[in-house]
Every structure is written in C-alpha cells, then in structure tokens.
C-alpha cells in the first residue's frame, strides 16, 4: 500500500493490528514531531535482495523512498568489445553469457541478425526447434524469477519448487545440446544438432507436469494474504510513462499494453502457433506477477504445438559456406573438408551492412545490432538489453513508497545484471 492512499478494505487481521498500534500514537509519543531529514542509503552492490550486483542509491525520508539512483557496471565484462575480436561463429558463446538466464534468446537475437546480414535461410525444422528451446528457456527464466521474487517476500519453499521444475528443463537442454546453460545450441543458419531420440517423449512428460505445477504455485500465492498485501496496489506505473521510458515486456503488458514481438512481428515461425498474450490492468506489482505466471501456461501451449507440428528436414542451413558439413561427409568429400577447414580457421565472411534484430525475451525487447565490414569478424555487436532500459523505470515506480515496496518492485522488475552491464 502506498502511504499516500488508504487501503480499500482491511482484513480482520489488519484491523486488529491497526487498533493495537496506530501510527498517530507513535507520533504523539515522540513529541508530535516527525523527522523531515533525508537519508541517503546504499543498497548493494552486495545485497541478497538486489537480484545481482546492483547498487541503488536510495534517498529516504524515514522509510519512504524519495529518490533512487541505480549505479551499475559491477559485472561489466566487455562482452560487446570481445565480440569484435572473434569470428562470427565464436561470438555466439560470448553473447549467450550476457543475459545469463535467457541464453537462447541472446543467441537467437545475434544469430537472427547475422542471418539477415548474410541472407541465410533457416530451415523450417530448425525454426520449430528454436521455438521449442526459446519457450523452454522462457519458462525456466520465469521460474527463477518467481522463485527469487517470492523468496524476497519470505516464501522460501516456492523457490525450491521452482528450481525443481527448472531441473526438468535443464535436463531437456542437456539432452539436446550436452549443456544445461549457455549451450551454444543456436548457430547461424539453424541449430547445431537435431534432437535425440527420447527428447520428444521427455518433453511431453514435462508439458503434462508443468501446468499442474504452475497451478500449485498459483494456489499457494494468488490469494495469499502476504502476497496480496505486498504486491497488490504497490508501485503502479501507467503504460504511457512506461512507453516513454522504453519499457517493454511483461512490465508493459501488466500496465495494459499488449505489445509482444512474437505477435506483432513474428520471427522464427511464431505465427504458426496459437497462443494468448496475458495482459494486466493496473500495472502494479501484483499484475506484473500475474502476467508472468500466466505466460508460463502460454509457453507450454506453444511448445506443445511446435512439438506436434515439428516438420522433417534439415536442422541447419545446407549452405556449406556458413554451416559446418556433417562429420561423415568429411571422410568422402573434398569440398566438405575444405569448407570445414575454412569455417573453422577463418570463419565465414558477411557482406558489409548493419542490422538491428529485435526479439521478445522474457524481460522485453531484446535486440542485437550487428555491423559488418565485410570481414570474418563483426565490426560492432550491440545487445539492446531489456533489463538495462527497464531499470530506468525503477525510480519512477518506487517514488513515494516504502523500502519494503522497493524490494518487491525490484523483484517484479526482473533485472538481470549480466544484461544490464554486459
């Protein structure tokens, strides 16, 4: 509840609480004076509730936040600079580690940009496999968000339930690519390998379980007294202000604007699938929570449709100038050997140009800007990270609210410092 408005209806518990220790008594006891002093406090960078190495310079009046300045750069590893020194193929693992919970999305944005520049077609099967992995990553990212956010509010068991479901997803990633995180599965032109036998069956099992588990989280949290008190009505921000601040993703959808790049400008065959976009009404923390929880169900639907409709065909482009030939060809074909050699040593060259490729990541519009100068290394790789832009909204959201609301809002903002700092 913001301190400037009275709550609509108080539960019996709250009414009892307020009758025991009303604020007016405290002011009376301290001699009728309330402090007007502003206190500037450092929140982080080492702090369990800042969701990463985020430093917030908070100006407080009592417990009310008057101003907030985020200071970032503690995890800046020069990803964009490193990417300029590497062949296009080798940039993929670098760029994956940017927004470290939505790694497939980073790779997708980058590979999509390079594919546009080099005019490489991605086969249909690869597009469907990409969608499956992207939506699995979206669910995994939302599970971590849910677990850590309600952990900040005190619900410690939900954190472990979410991680339990995420284990199933990471097992699926390990099955398809060999690694749980930062898998290098997406390559320019498609995916690195076809899914193994048993993947589809395991994925269907997961798709049967996930909605039931999401129902369980909803059953525990949706009408929970603490969640309602902490999230309902706290730190709302209207869609117009969010748009002027460049905020996209679940934060904007919670405020009522149904902008989603998967529907607006479909990429990678997203228009083949039927799914809904969860939209909130008020734009407070509870709407942000509800929108992300609902997105998990929609992602499950998309994966199911993609799996049912998975077409036969190549899993990567047949253009040997861009994609490695299959290993068995190296023993018999001279051209395959030469292509393999050229690709591994120098890498493929991309015609000069600039491309900005936006996709919808779990946090909003994630885009990759690639500038190529004709050589085998990119001249500029810039990732437009949604967390970096969304962070600007934090001070607007929390002005005039309590520290406790600041904690809840930072959690609902879903910032990933790897993406913010790059």
């Amino acid at each position: 509840m913001t301190p400037t408005e009275s709550p609509p209806t108080l539960s019996e518990y709250r009414q009892r609480e307020q009758s025991i220790a009303p604020v007016e008594n405290l002011i009376e006891r301290s001699g009728g004076e309330t402090s007007e002093e502003l206190l500037t406090l450092n929140f982080g960078p080492h702090h369990p509730a800042t969701h990463g190495v985020l430093r917030l310079l908070v100006t407080l009046q009592g417990e009310v936040v008057r101003d907030l300045k985020p200071i970032i750069g503690y995890v800046h590893t020069g990803i964009e600079k490193t990417a300029e020194d590497k062949a296009y193929w080798k940039v993929i693992p670098i760029v994956e580690r940017m927004d470290y919970l939505s790694y497939y999305f980073n790779a997708m944005a980058y590979c999509g940009a390079v594919e546009t520049l080099a005019e490489v077609q991605v086969p249909k099967r690869a597009q469907y496999l990409r969608v499956i992995h992207l939506e699995l990553n979206r669910i995994a990212s939302h599970l971590i968000w849910l677990g850590t956010s309600v952990l900040d509010l005190g619900a410690t068991s939900i954190f472990l339930y979410c991680l339990r479901e995420r284990e199933l997803i990471l097992d699926l990633f390990e099955m398809s690519s060999g690694a749980r995180m930062h898998t290098r599965y997406f390559q320019v032109g498609g995916v690195i390998e076809d899914i193994p036998t048993g993947f589809a069956a395991k994925l269907r099992e997961f798709l049967k379980i996930m909605p039931k588990r999401a129902d369980e989280y909803g059953a525990i949290l949706n009408a929970n007294e603490i969640v309602l008190q902490r999230l309902r009505g706290t730190c709302p921000l209207d869609a117009q202000t969010l748009l002027s601040l460049g905020v996209t993703g679940p934060l904007l959808r919670a405020a009522g604007n149904p902008w989603d790049l998967r529907k607006a400008t479909p990429y990678s065959s997203y228009d083949d699938f039927a799914f809904k976009i969860p939209v909130g009404t008020v734009g407070d923390n509870y709407d942000r929570y509800a929108v992300r929880l609902a997105e998990i169900y929609e992602s499950v639907k998309i994966i199911e449709q993609a799996l049912d409709g998975l077409p036969e065909g190549p899993y990567i482009t047949e253009d040997r100038k861009v994609a490695l030939p299959p290993r068995h060809e190296l023993a018999t074909s001279m051209e395959a050997l030469i292509h393999h050699f050229k690709l591994v040593t120098e890498g493929f060259r991309v015609p000069p140009g600039e491309v900005y490729n936006p996709i919808e990541s779990p946090r909003g519009e994630l885009a990759c800007y690639v500038r190529s100068d004709g050589s085998s290394k990119p001249a500029r790789v810039h990732m437009r990270d949604p967390s970096f832009v969304n962070l600007q909204a934090l001070s607007h959201m929390t002005r005039g609210s309590y520290i406790a609301d600041l904690i809840a809002t930072t959690a609902m903002l879903d910032p990933i410092l790897g993406g913010i700092d790059r």
Binding site: I72, G73, H76, G78, E80, K81, T82, E84, D85, T116, L117, E119, L243, S244, L245, G246, V247, T248, N257, W259, A264, T265, G353, E354, V355, Y356, P358, E365, A367, Y369, R371, A379, R380, H382, R384, F388, V389, L391, Q392, D421, R422
Partner: protein, 165 residues
C-alpha cells in the same frame, strides 16, 4: 519498416536535415544532420514513431565522420520501425541530448558517452555508467585495444607502483 518508396518520401519531408537514406535488408535508415536530431525525432514522433526502442553508438573507423549514434524508433500502432543515424567526427563529438523528449535516452546516452566519448549536450547527468568514474579512455572505439589494461599481480605490485612515480 516503411518500404523503399515510403522511406524516400519520409526523407523528402525532413528536407535538408536528411543527408542520406539507406534501405538494406528491408530495414530503413535515415542519416541526418547532427545539429537537427532533436527536431527530426520530434517530426518522426508526429508521424507515429512514438517509441524509442534503442539508442546505441557505433564507430566507423577508419571512415569519417567516425562516431555514429543510432536511434531506433518504433511505431506500435502501424508496427513499423525506422532507424535514425547521426555521424560526428572525433574532433567535435557533440550531439544534442534527446532525454528531455525521450526519457528512455537517459541511461542509453550515458552508455554511448562512456563507450565512445560522444558528448550529449543538455543531458541531465552525463557521466560514465558501465566503467568506473575515474576511467580514462572510451573502450568501444575501434582503436582502443582489447585487453587494454595491464594486469597487476601481487608479486609485481611494488615494481609497478614504483614505475608509476
């Protein structure tokens, strides 16, 4: 993106503020005069491009003018994107800040300043955002070396401090 014809019509409307248009891979870019960037963005906002998706920098070394700033605009109702680009030389890397009209430009302009050294005049709080406050140099420039900082090991620390004096 507006198609090629739409892009040309748009550039004609902007008049002499538009220096060049680029229609590449079905994406539209207008290169404009750095002195008129704020007015150009307001005109485009009037045309419906009311959302600034990204503000980022690029170094065109060795071509001149070297430093480029790109403004990615999005029209949500018409689902249309357009990129506006300005290019400034290294000797005079000044561009007017658009933060007053587009609040999203705040941190993004700070990042371009930090990484490229482009000074945004009129920015409310132009200081480094990713690098430490006392850092020297602008890392993302093409002539800035990768691994441009010496790594001091504890065994060499005394020697290194001595060499600094």
């Amino acid at each position: 993106m507006p198609d090629a014809t739409g892009l040309e019509l748009l550039a004609r409307e902007l008049g002499d503020a538009a220096i060049e248009t680029v229609y590449f891979r079905e994406r539209a870019t207008i290169v404009v005069d750095p002195a008129r960037i704020r007015a150009v963005l307001q005109t485009l906002r009037g045309k419906g491009y009311a959302f600034m998706a990204s503000l980022h920098g690029v170094d065109h070394y060795p071509e001149e003018p070297r430093l480029g700033v790109i403004y990615e605009l999005l029209d949500m109702s018409a689902v249309d994107r357009i990129a506006v680009k300005v290019r400034v030389p290294l000797e005079a890397p000044r561009v007017e800040s658009v933060t007053a009209d587009w609040p999203t430009a705040d941190h993004q302009e700070r990042e371009v300043y930090d990484m490229f050294g482009v000074v945004f005049e009129g920015h409310p709080d132009l200081r480094r955002i990713l690098m430490p406050e006392d850092y020297e140099g602008h890392p993302q420039r093409r002539d800035f070396p990768i691994g441009g900082e010496p790594v001091i090991f504890t065994r060499d620390e005394a020697k290194w401090l001595e060499a600094r004096e």
